[in-house]
């Protein structure tokens, strides 16, 4: 039991110890609890504070809750809106993707931020690889590309900025770009659209090339043109200078020839020994030959220049031809040849054509015939080949029994300066121009020329020409004869500066028996004209002080004189002749002056105006007095005023309607009515003493109207008839009143 006691005691000690520890612990905890209590109290305070704060927060939250509700609505709206925006943007996106023009967006750093499909296909690089890379890397000129988008940033846009995309084929593009901004207006980047202009470039290139070609071609053409113009000018100059040369030569040669031949003729008329006469004849013949040559050359020049004109005047064929053949009589007699004329009597008396040219043709042919014939005869035949209502065709033939032409040469003889054999001119003389001229004269008139020839037997030259028929009377011929009496009184004014020519003209005119005054220039001539009257002026063209053209112009325009003026000219090229006509000269004579020609021209011109003058006077008188003549009526009515008045009033009643019908039917081309009206008018002309001319005119109208031919001439005739009838009516009215008022 001790032990147990001990153990117990130990235990007890242990417990005591324990208990003390526990007490101590308790005390510690109490302290701690105290602290905790303090802490709790503080925390309570804090808690109270927080509760108050929470209360406020609570209120706040409640408010916020409300706000949240509102926002939810807005949010759903926004969501809807954002959906539609999304749709729109998808739509725009699809548009952008569909565009065939490459589009890029670039940020300010120059990196690509977006692209469309076209960009991918053109660069051949995938979208992923493109976005975020440097824009300018894709161009042949990066610097320029960079500058391009920098320009967009700087200016806000760029238009048609040319660049070349560095793809497999180097596509040329034009860039159009503009910046895009956020809401605040900050620049976010640029959008650029590239337009593929390969096609345009190609076209442009082609265009440029074409342009260059065109320019080249134009250049070539212009060159060619200027060359052509040059040659034309040269050719024209050549023609002109040729003409000028001919003109000058003819002038230079003709002037001295004028004096030589003229004075030879004058001397020939004086007392001479046989020898002297022989020598002078030789001089004259040589001179004549020279003049013929010059005339031939000038004629050819005229033909060459296309200036040969053919007149259409009425002339008497038979007289014309026999007069011309007359010229050869002496020569033919000298050579002891026979001249046979065969003239077809069926040829109408008067024909219309160019007698001068016809002369020239026959003259050339006959002079050839005479020249080459030493024995036998020369036959000139004129035959009517055919005729219709308007024209006749006549064949002229000149046959000789001369040396003939070898067949091989026949084709050549019509060429300039060609003779059948080169020796011909040595033997027979001549220039070889004659036949060329003949051909040139026949063919333009619509004729043809033929040759038949046999060596040693002779040749026949024949040509055909057609002439118009006419009812007109031919001029000249008969007139010269009947005029002889009065021509002695013709007063001629010669205007000529060269003393030699003055003397020559003086001699010639004295020979003709004309009165003449000679002055040395146009100025003196005009002074002379104002003091004295002349019948005709012979006017040289080139004179000091006032030349022939100026003088003529003055006479025609200032003096208002119609005096005939014949130009005396050594210069007979076409140019001058045209000028002569244009200033109002009536005719011209080439120097050296041919006596006969001068004589006939003076007579022709002096006579003609005389006739015209009379005509004019008559007409004026008629107009001044009356177109009617009541003699017939007075005679018929035995001056019975009542009957005369009856007649006149009937005429006055009947005529105006007839005129109306006449005019109307002409207008309507109703030839039958025209015929009738005019027909009915005819008897009244003679009753009222109206000139027979008008009656004939009316008959002509009637004839034209019935045959319906030459209707062109009708209007003029009708107008004249109308005028005369109107005038007659007027006069008859006066006459009527006079008779009425005359006391019986």
């Amino acid at each position: 039991m001790a032990k147990i006691k001990k153990t117990e005691k130990d235990e007890l000690i242990e417990i005591r110890k324990e208990l003390t520890i526990q007490r101590k612990e308790k005390e510690k905890i109490a302290v701690e609890l105290l602290l905790v209590r303090k802490e709790l109290a503080f925390q309570d305070k804090e808690k109270e504070k927080r509760a108050a704060e929470l209360g406020i927060a609570n209120k706040e939250l409640a408010f916020q809750d409300k706000e949240k509700g509102k926002r939810k609505v807005e949010n759903s709206e926004l969501e809807e809106f954002s959906n539609s925006v999304k749709l729109a943007s998808q739509y725009s996106r699809s548009l952008i993707e569909a565009s065939r023009d490459p589009m890029f967006t670039i940020n300010p750093a120059g990196k690509i931020t977006d692209i469309n499909n076209a960009s991918i296909s053109i660069t051949g690089i995938s979208r992923e690889n493109l976005i975020g890379t440097d824009f300018f890397n894709y161009f042949t000129e990066p610097a320029k590309a960079k500058e391009g988008y920098q320009q967009v940033f700087a200016k806000g846009f760029v238009a048609d900025y040319p660049l070349t995309i560095r793809d497999h084929k180097l596509t040329d593009v034009l860039f159009n770009g503009s910046v895009y901004k956020d809401e605040e207006g900050n620049v976010l980047g640029v959008v650029v659209v590239a337009r593929d202009i390969t096609e345009q470039k190609r076209i442009e290139k082609e265009l440029t090339e074409a342009k260059i070609f065109a320019e080249l071609a134009t250049g070539i053409a212009e060159e060619a043109k200027s060359k052509a113009e040059d040659s034309t000018r040269i050719a024209e100059d050549a023609v002109k200078s040729k003409q000028q040369f001919l003109s000058n030569m003819s002038h230079e040669i003709r002037t001295p020839m004028n004096a030589i031949i003229g004075f030879t003729k004058v001397v020939l008329k004086t007392e001479l020994t046989a020898k002297q006469k022989e020598y002078l004849m030789a001089i004259k013949m040589s001179g004549d030959a020279l003049i013929v040559l010059i005339n031939d050359i000038l004629d050819l020049a005229k033909v060459d220049a296309g200036k040969m004109t053919f007149e259409q005047v009425p002339f008497k064929m038979a007289i014309s031809i026999s007069a011309m053949l007359h010229l050869f009589e002496t020569k033919i007699q000298e050579k002891n040849l026979e001249l046979v004329k065969e003239y077809d009597p069926k040829i109408p008396d008067v024909l219309v054509g160019d007698p001068v040219r016809l002369h020239q043709i026959i003259l050339n042919l006959v002079s050839n015939a005479v020249k080459f014939t030493t024995k036998g005869k020369i036959t000139v035949s004129v035959h009517l080949l055919s005729q219709d209502e308007e024209r006749v065709t006549i064949e002229f033939a000149v046959t000789d029994t001369g040396i003939g032409i070898p067949e091989t040469k026949i084709g050549k003889i019509f060429e300039n300066f060609q003779q059948a054999s080169s020796g011909t001119s040595r033997l027979y003389g001549g220039t070889g121009l004659g036949l060329a001229i003949v051909k040139q004269l026949v063919e333009p008139q619509g004729g043809s020329i033929n040759v038949k020839s046999k060596i040693g037997e002779g040749s026949t030259f024949s040509f055909t020409l057609s002439f118009l028929k006419t009812k007109e009377e031919a001029e000249s011929a008969t007139k010269i004869v009947e005029l002889d009496a009065e021509i002695r009184n013709i007063k001629v004014l010669v205007v000529e500066d060269i003393a030699l020519n003055q003397l020559l003209m003086k001699t010639l005119l004295d020979d003709f028996g004309f009165e003449r005054d000679i002055v040395s220039n146009g100025k003196i001539a005009i002074e002379k004209l104002q003091t004295k009257t002349y019948d005709i002026i012979l006017m040289d063209l080139q004179m000091p002080e006032m030349n022939g053209f100026e003088a003529t112009e003055y006479i025609r325009n200032t003096l208002n004189s119609k005096i005939p003026i014949i130009a005396l000219t050594a210069d007979v090229t076409t140019v001058d002749l045209a000028k002569c006509k244009s200033v109002g000269m009536n005719d011209y004579i080439a120097k050296p002056v041919d006596e006969r020609l001068l004589y006939s021209k003076i007579l022709g011109l002096v006579k003609k105006p005389a006739l015209i003058k009379i005509d004019v006077n008559e007409k004026i008188e008629e107009k001044k007095s009356k177109c009617i003549d009541l003699d017939y009526l007075i005679h018929r009515t035995k001056s019975n005023p009542k009957l005369m008045m009856e007649m006149i009033s009937l005429y006055l009643e009947q005529t105006p309607p007839l005129i109306l019908i006449m005019k109307q039917s002409l207008h309507d081309k109703d030839w039958q009515a025209l015929y009738s009206a005019v027909h009915k008018m005819i008897p009244s002309f003679s009753i009222m003493g109206i000139s027979i001319d008008f009656e004939n005119m009316a008959k002509q109208v009637q004839e034209y109207a019935s045959t319906q031919q030459q209707t062109d001439g009708i209007p003029d005739l009708v107008r004249q008839l109308e005028n005369i009838c109107a005038q007659a009516c007027k006069e008859l009215e006066i006459e009527f009143d006079m008779i009425k008022n005359t006391p019986l």
């Binding site: 017939y632 018929r636 019975n640 009937l650 009738s676 027909h679 009915k680 009244s684 009753i687």
Partner: protein
């Protein structure tokens, strides 16, 4: 017979010419004259029994519907073939003249200054002719 005036018809559409003829006939001889502008008028008055009719050939010139000279001539001849008709025309054409003669006109005269004188002579001839005819008839009857 001679105390009876010779009755003359003048037919022409040309009033002036008609009048001038009338004046001439009145002055140069003692005729009883009636003038007509158309063939129709002439025929209407044919019962007046003219001895001679001077008839224009070209009566339908202005009035196209008018009877022409030849038609008038034929009708006159139907009425009384003994009436002598002298045709008058301003055209100097053989065919016209011959044609007139075929239609039994007594003569054909071209209008001119001398027309009147010729007409006068023709009229004289007509009466000589008629006289001869009468005489011939008279003798024939006696035979």
């Amino acid at each position: 017979m001679k105390n009876e005036k010779i009755k003359l018809f003048l037919v022409d559409d040309d009033a002036v010419f008609l009048k001038s003829l009338e004046i001439e006939f009145l002055q140069h001889a003692d005729f009883a004259i009636e003038t007509f502008a158309t063939g129709e008028l002439c025929l209407q008055n044919i019962s007046h029994n003219p001895d001679v009719i001077i008839l224009d050939y070209f009566l339908d010139g202005i009035d196209k519907t008018a009877m022409n000279g030849m038609q008038t001539l034929d009708k006159i001849k139907v009425f009384n073939p003994d009436i002598s008709v002298i045709m008058l025309s301003s055209q100097d054409k053989i065919e016209v003249a011959v044609n007139c003669m075929h239609h039994r006109a007594f003569d054909y005269v071209v209008k001119s200054e001398t027309a009147f004188t010729r007409l006068q002579k023709i009229i004289t001839t007509i009466f000589q002719y008629k006289k001869m005819e009468k005489e011939l008839n008279w003798y024939m009857e006696r035979m």
